[in-house]
């Protein structure tokens, strides 16, 4: 995600830096407030986390240095791997579905062939403004068989739909909530990228007699590559951090969602219910590294395919 252009290239006739010390450091003056808080809430916690992860706090003997012991424990922890494979499955199914839907919707908006395009754009984007807590509660109620829509449909049609809150189904139900929240957001990102396509490209395509599908394949999809890669990276990060939805659904479906359901839920329960902060720090660091590796791989893959 390194930017492709540098906004200010030093002019060749710029006076030597030493003679203009004020100018050289002015930028830092404007950046200093951001960097100060950044150091406090990003850099310091990361360093502290690294420190915590190589110690162990025991009832007997107090805090002692254990090297990579916590990491070894996490890497052989079946609960941890269970949660990782669950979010990986989530990622492999939900992200492609959501991005594909977002792509179709963005192309539909951009085709100029919709009645009420602006109404569509705004309405489909609206769920993004709904807090995860409200989205989850709302869907959770609708999923419910007591006063939810699923119960209504069962009563009306005399059928028995699979319970969305049952252990085998709930991951898909969570995927639906996340898709509902973010499909419009991703649609807008892709649509914005489509709007940056120079108009004369379309005119040239029309002169060449290219049809709509050809225009999509030859002009629009290539123009969307960067935005798609970014959307995919954000979705990967989001999937690996899955926490809010399962955490809130827990009260509605206590049997289906265990305390180690996702890596973040596991970290949270280790640190705050289990008082195992050192071990939790190691688990969180492994997850952070894993996320960065996968996000980086998505970026490499996305850029390579384009060449």
């Amino acid at each position: 995600m390194t930017p492709t252009t540098t906004p200010t290239a030093p002019a060749p006739d710029r006076p030597p830096a030493r003679s203009r010390p004020r100018r050289r450091w002015t930028g830092w003056g404007f950046l200093a407030p951001f960097m100060t808080v950044f150091a406090l809430v990003f850099v310091a916690p990361i360093l502290y986390s690294l420190y915590l992860s190589v110690y162990r706090d025991q009832l007997v003997g107090g805090t002692s240095f254990v090297g990579l012991e916590n990491y070894r424990g996490a890497l052989t922890d079946p609960v941890f791997w269970d949660s990782v494979s669950r979010v990986t499955l989530f990622l492999a199914v939900q992200v492609p579905i959501m991005l594909f839907l977002a792509l179709l919707l963005a192309l539909a908006l951009d085709s100029g062939r919709l009645y009420g395009r602006d109404f569509f754009r705004i309405s489909i984007f609206l769920p993004y403004a709904v807090p995860a807590v409200v989205a989850t509660l709302m869907w959770g109620f609708m999923y419910g068989t007591r006063f939810g829509l699923v119960g209504n449909v069962n009563d009306l049609l005399g059928v028995t739909l699979p319970d969305p809150l049952a252990p085998g189904v709930i991951l898909a139900s969570i995927g639906n909530i996340v898709t509902w929240q973010f499909v419009g957001y991703n649609m807008l990102i892709l649509y914005s990228a489509l709007r940056t396509v120079p108009h004369n490209l379309y005119e040239a395509a029309e002169v060449d007699g290219a049809g709509q599908l050809r225009v999509i394949a030859a002009i629009k999809l290539p123009a969307l590559r960067g935005a798609l890669v970014i959307a995919a990276i954000f979705s990967v990060i989001g999937s690996f951090q899955l926490f809010n939805e399962p955490s809130i659904l827990q009260s509605l479906a206590p049997n289906a969602i265990t305390s180690g359901y996702t890596p973040n839920l596991y970290t949270y329960s280790l640190a705050f219910s289990g008082q195992q902060q050192n071990y939790a720090a190691a688990v969180a660091i492994i997850m952070g590294l894993l996320t960065m590796v996968i996000a980086y791989a998505v970026q490499l893959f996305g850029m390579r395919k384009a060449v």
């Binding site: 252009t5 906004p7 200010t8 050289r24 002015t26 930028g27 003056g29 950046l31 407030p33 808080v37 809430v41 990003f42 916690p45 502290y48 986390s49 915590l52 539909a108 085709s111 100029g112 062939r113 919709l114 009645y115 395009r117 309405s123 489909i124 609206l126 403004a129 709904v130 807090p131 995860a132 807590v133 409200v134 509660l137 709302m138 109620f141 609708m142 006063f147 499909v183 419009g184 914005s192 990228a193 709007r195 940056t196 120079p198 108009h199 629009k220 960067g226 935005a227 970014i230 690996f240 809010n244 009260s251 973040n264 949270y268 640190a271 720090a281 997850m287 952070g288 996320t291 960065m292």
Partner: protein, 304 residues
């Protein structure tokens, strides 16, 4: 943010010219509109469900069809009950949320504005390193930071105070990035030079010349940081134990937990009405400020 900035409409740019692109003036298609309408239904039906069910009392919530009104119309009763339940704790949560949004999102926007301007318009030692570090940090899972931040803050005595929610909200790497991209194209270097030649100091130049130019980008960043802060759940969940400092999200979750607990007082109608009240301000903000986030998103996607 103290000085009132004149609101300017986004400068006309060729790439955001109004009107459909790539359409060649084709006529709208009924079939395409219908198919896209399915996605529209998917997006709005849950919101309609919420709206309808906020009109039902506890009784008809259980025995009437979800997508139609019950025998009673209790919306106003529900709103009154939500606002007064438990000595008006919902109002307290609302005030807390506004406090977190004003200080957290407002501060985040200010810091991103200053930092983005610095990155875009000044050459200084370590500029590239700053950019790499901040973007790299954006990939760190927020929850990986949560445990150490909590432990640090609790040693500083900040947990269970508003600062524990506000201070971490002040950093928005995405906002910094957006302001950087925006400042690079919206602030002409010649204008800054002219102000300097006129003897204007850097700070005065920023507030009198640069700030008005940054207004559209600022509105976008403000909107997105507002949503992030208003919707924040994980950070306050960790930091705040005292219900008096809960934001709305945490409070609703607490009501839901209470309702789901066997023997707890079932207040589902309050959860539903409270949810509705929680999303109305944000949806209103999005609808009113849409031209800003649209132009801002376009700017952000340019550098993809």
């Amino acid at each position: 943010m103290g000085t009132p900035t004149p609101l300017r409409s986004p400068r006309p740019r060729s790439r955001s010219a109004p009107g459909p692109q790539g359409s060649f003036g084709r006529r709208p298609s009924v079939a395409l509109t219908l198919v896209t309408g399915l996605a529209l239904l998917y997006s709005v039906v849950p919101l309609i469900w919420l709206l309808i069910n906020a009109t039902k009392g506890q009784e008809s919530l259980l025995d009437s069809f979800g997508l139609w009104f019950g025998s009673d119309f209790a919306l106003l009763d529900n709103i009154a009950a939500t606002l007064t339940y438990d000595d008006g704790v919902f109002v307290r949560w609302l005030i807390n949320t506004v406090l977190y949004v004003v200080l957290g999102a407002g501060g985040a926007t200010l810091l991103a504005m200053l930092g983005g301007y610095a990155l875009a318009k000044f050459d200084f030692p370590g500029r590239r390193a700053v950019f790499a570090v901040v973007l790299g940090a954006a990939a760190v899972p927020g929850t990986a930071l949560a445990v150490p931040t909590f432990l640090m803050f609790s040693q500083m005595g900040l947990t269970n105070t508003p600062w524990a929610v506000i201070v971490p909200s002040l950093i928005s790497p995405f906002g910094l990035y957006l302001m950087w991209v925006f400042a690079a194209q919206a602030v002409p270097t010649e204008l800054m030079e002219a102000a300097r030649i006129d003897g204007s100091g850097e700070i005065r130049t920023f507030f009198t010349v640069v700030l008005p130019l940054l207004a559209p980008g600022t509105a976008t960043v403000l909107l997105f940081t507002m949503v992030a802060t208003w919707n924040n759940y994980f950070l306050p969940l960790i930091m705040i134990r005292d219900p008096d400092w809960f934001p709305l999200t945490l409070g609703l979750d607490a009501w839901n937990d209470q309702a789901a607990t066997i023997g707890g007082e079932p207040v589902f109608h309050l959860v539903i009405t409270g949810s509705l009240l929680t999303i109305v301000p944000l949806i209103a903000a999005f609808l009113m400020l849409q031209r800003y986030w649209r132009s801002g998103l376009t700017a952000g996607s340019l550098k993809g």
